[in-house]
């Protein structure tokens, strides 16, 4: 399997049934993701980011087109596409350990012995720095710690793709920074393929290989993709002064604000891309890829 077309979202559309005939949330979403890539999805609230993620997870079905992972069409959820939820989604009646165990016991049933499972659970808890709290109940640990456990549970399934829906959205800035560093370190080690939804431009630039920006709905689609070619490992303090970093940041901000204007004037999506592309005609390593050129690639 070539890693260039590891995960493919092809011509995907989603229409939600409503009382007034149906609401077209997504139209013609097209994206190809390589193995080991870190992708951020960014866009205005309600544009359909969660919907894209849920379809990749298999929690929802696409109305048109679909998602192909390693050559296989996706139509149901599974542990190969583990999800980190915005609000941790830990079972409050299980301890930290048992929460991870619930997933591990199911995914590795028959392939790991009880002792191996135990070791694997603790290994993953240690990976996110939560080994010490294994026997605590979720209500006894902080929000950031819960999110760490959610990440541990996700990683413990050894997913092909990690899907994160605003994983740090509910956390304070300091905790968020720490968790971002943890995620970067883990990804450097495990080389996971990650799709993350975020509202935080800095977070997107710091973590991603590519930032996928979505137009405002209805019938939302991918507006632009910014490639972040900053070398890894990345250091948030050093990057604050980095020209390339700030350029990427600027590109994302510009897209978000200009698409805000488009929304009020109801312009054609192609017009958006044109105008942005002329604006970003600066000589840098970063490339703004038009939606159409991405399809051709």
């Amino acid at each position: 399997m070539s890693s260039a077309r590891y995960l493919e979202i092809s011509k995907m559309g989603k229409t939600f049934p409503t009382d007034t005939g149906g609401f077209e949330a997504l139209r013609d979403v097209q994206l190809t993701i390589q193995q080991g890539e870190f992708i951020s999805l960014i866009g205005h609230s309600g544009c359909g980011k969660s919907t894209v993620l849920n379809i990749v997870a298999g929690l929802e079905q696409a109305s048109v087109g679909g998602v192909i992972l390693e050559g296989k069409h996706i139509n149901e959820p599974g542990p190969d596409r583990a999800v980190v939820f915005q609000h941790h989604a830990l079972m409050p009646w299980l301890t930290v350990y048992e929460n991870v165990e619930l997933a591990v016991a199911q995914v590795f049933r028959g392939s790991k012995s009880a002792a191996e499972m135990r070791e694997w659970i603790l290994h993953n808890l240690n990976l996110v720095g939560m080994g010490h709290a294994a026997d605590k109940a979720p209500h006894e640990i902080s929000g950031g710690m819960k999110q760490r456990v959610g990440i541990a549970r996700c990683l413990a399934m050894e997913p092909k793709v990690v899907l994160m829906d605003e994983p740090f959205g509910a956390l304070d800035a300091l905790t968020r920074a720490k968790l971002q560093d943890s995620v970067m370190a883990i990804q450097a080690e495990l080389k996971n393929t990650i799709i993350m939804i975020t509202h935080d431009v800095d977070e997107a630039v710091l973590l991603s290989d590519r930032i996928v920006m979505m137009t405002t709905g209805p019938a939302a689609t991918i507006g632009e993709i910014v490639e972040v070619k900053l070398p890894r490992p990345r250091d948030r303090l050093a990057l604050a002064e980095d020209q390339q970093y700030n350029h990427c940041r600027h590109q994302v901000l510009e897209f978000l604000y200009s698409s805000d204007d488009d929304n009020s004037e109801e312009l054609e999506p192609s017009a958006t891309i044109e105008s942005v592309q002329t604006a970003v005609d600066v000589s840098t390593d970063d490339t703004v890829i038009k939606n159409s050129s991405n399809q051709a690639a």
């Binding site: 997870a57 298999g58 929690l59 959820p77 599974g78 542990p79 596409r81 583990a82 999800v83 939820f85 609000h87 989604a89 079972m91 409050p92 009646w93 299980l94 619930l102 997933a103 199911q106 995914v107 209500h139 399934m157």
Partner: protein
């Protein structure tokens, strides 16, 4: 800074004592004083009202009269027990004597058939309601889980629930009676027919609150948690055990408590109507008796029914606290 700490520490010797005293004071007020006050007020009111009501069976019983009758009920019960014991003792002696004369003599053991006392009736009512409640729970909880999990199961059954729920269980009583006498024919019956009649009638009315609350509880499991379960691909039994049941325990128990309370009310009515043994029959018999003591004895039964209903509810609460994962939750 040091001055302030010195200040507060000197005051500190007095203030914690004072605050803990006032906390005990609050507790006494909340748990002892006001309830006692309320009960005394009620008794006084009852006494005054009772003295002003005269029935064909004499004055309406006040608290004192009811207390006397309650003691009588205890005495009657003890007398009956003594009689029964004496009866069995005599029988045993007779049998022993007979066996001594002739070791092959057939030994007959007959059971004592005295009139059931007030306490016998209490016991009958309690196990009848337990029987009906257990049957209803065994049906309603699994069915509720099914309806909560599957929209189609819910749609299939919803209308039936809505139609049968408002039916007074007493309307079922004649049907249950006829069906039981037709179907339950056995030479050595495990249960009395009257027991089955009352028990099944109770079960019919215990079904609905549990069924509805379980359905709502199961359907209302947090979407994220359900999605976690779907991503992990938990099997349906593990899903129910690890995700659905723990999160719907509070609502299931709300249903169970409502069921038990209704079941208890219905049972008394069913026993009165069908002349089935139990507290309801006790009340009806006293009413038919029409002695000057009857009203006092009925009132004693009424209070007993209330206290037992309360005790049953407390029992369910204990059970809920014991089963629930959330020990912090305030359960009322």
């Amino acid at each position: 800074m040091s001055v302030t700490t010195a200040d507060s520490s000197s005051a500190g010797t007095a203030s914690p004592v004072a605050s803990s005293k006032s906390r005990i004071g609050d507790f006494v007020a909340a748990k002892l004083f006001f309830p006692t006050f309320g009960i005394l007020l009620f008794l006084a009111f009852w006494q005054i009202v009772a003295a002003n009501i005269v029935t064909s069976l004499g004055a309406f019983p006040g608290p004192a009269e009811v207390w006397t009758q309650s003691k009588n009920l205890v005495v009657e019960h003890q007398e009956q027990r003594a009689k029964a014991e004496a009866f069995y003792e005599r029988q045993e002696k007779r049998n022993a004597a007979r066996l001594e004369k002739d070791p092959d003599a057939p030994v007959k053991i007959r059971s004592y058939t005295g009139k059931p006392t007030f306490f016998d009736q209490i016991f009958t009512s309690l196990y009848t309601v337990a029987f009906g409640f257990v049957i209803a729970t065994a049906i309603a909880v699994p069915l509720g889980i099914l309806c909560g999990l599957s929209e189609s199961a819910y749609q299939a059954i919803n209308l039936i629930i809505q139609v049968f729920k408002p039916v007074s269980p007493l309307a079922w009583l004649p049907l249950v009676t006829m069906v039981v006498s037709a179907m339950y024919v056995s030479d050595s019956p495990m249960f009395e027919k009257s027991f089955l009649n009352s028990g099944l009638t109770v079960a019919l009315c215990c079904l609905w609150p549990t069924l509805i609350n379980t359905t709502v509880g199961v359907a209302g499991v947090d979407r994220d948690l359900v999605n976690v379960s779907r991503v992990i691909k938990l099997g349906s039994i593990t899903h129910v055990r690890k995700v659905v049941l723990p999160s719907s325990v509070p609502l299931i128990f709300t249903g169970l408590r409502l069921s038990l309370a209704t079941g208890w009310m219905v049972l008394i009515a069913a026993e009165m109507l069908a002349q089935n043994p139990g507290l309801g029959k006790f009340i009806w018999d006293e009413f038919q008796n029409g002695s000057s003591n009857s009203l006092g004895r009925i009132m004693a039964a009424v209070i007993t029914i209330g206290l037992l209903g309360f005790a049953l509810d407390q029992l369910m609460l204990r059970l809920q606290r014991w089963l629930s994962w959330d020990k912090q939750a305030v359960v009322r």
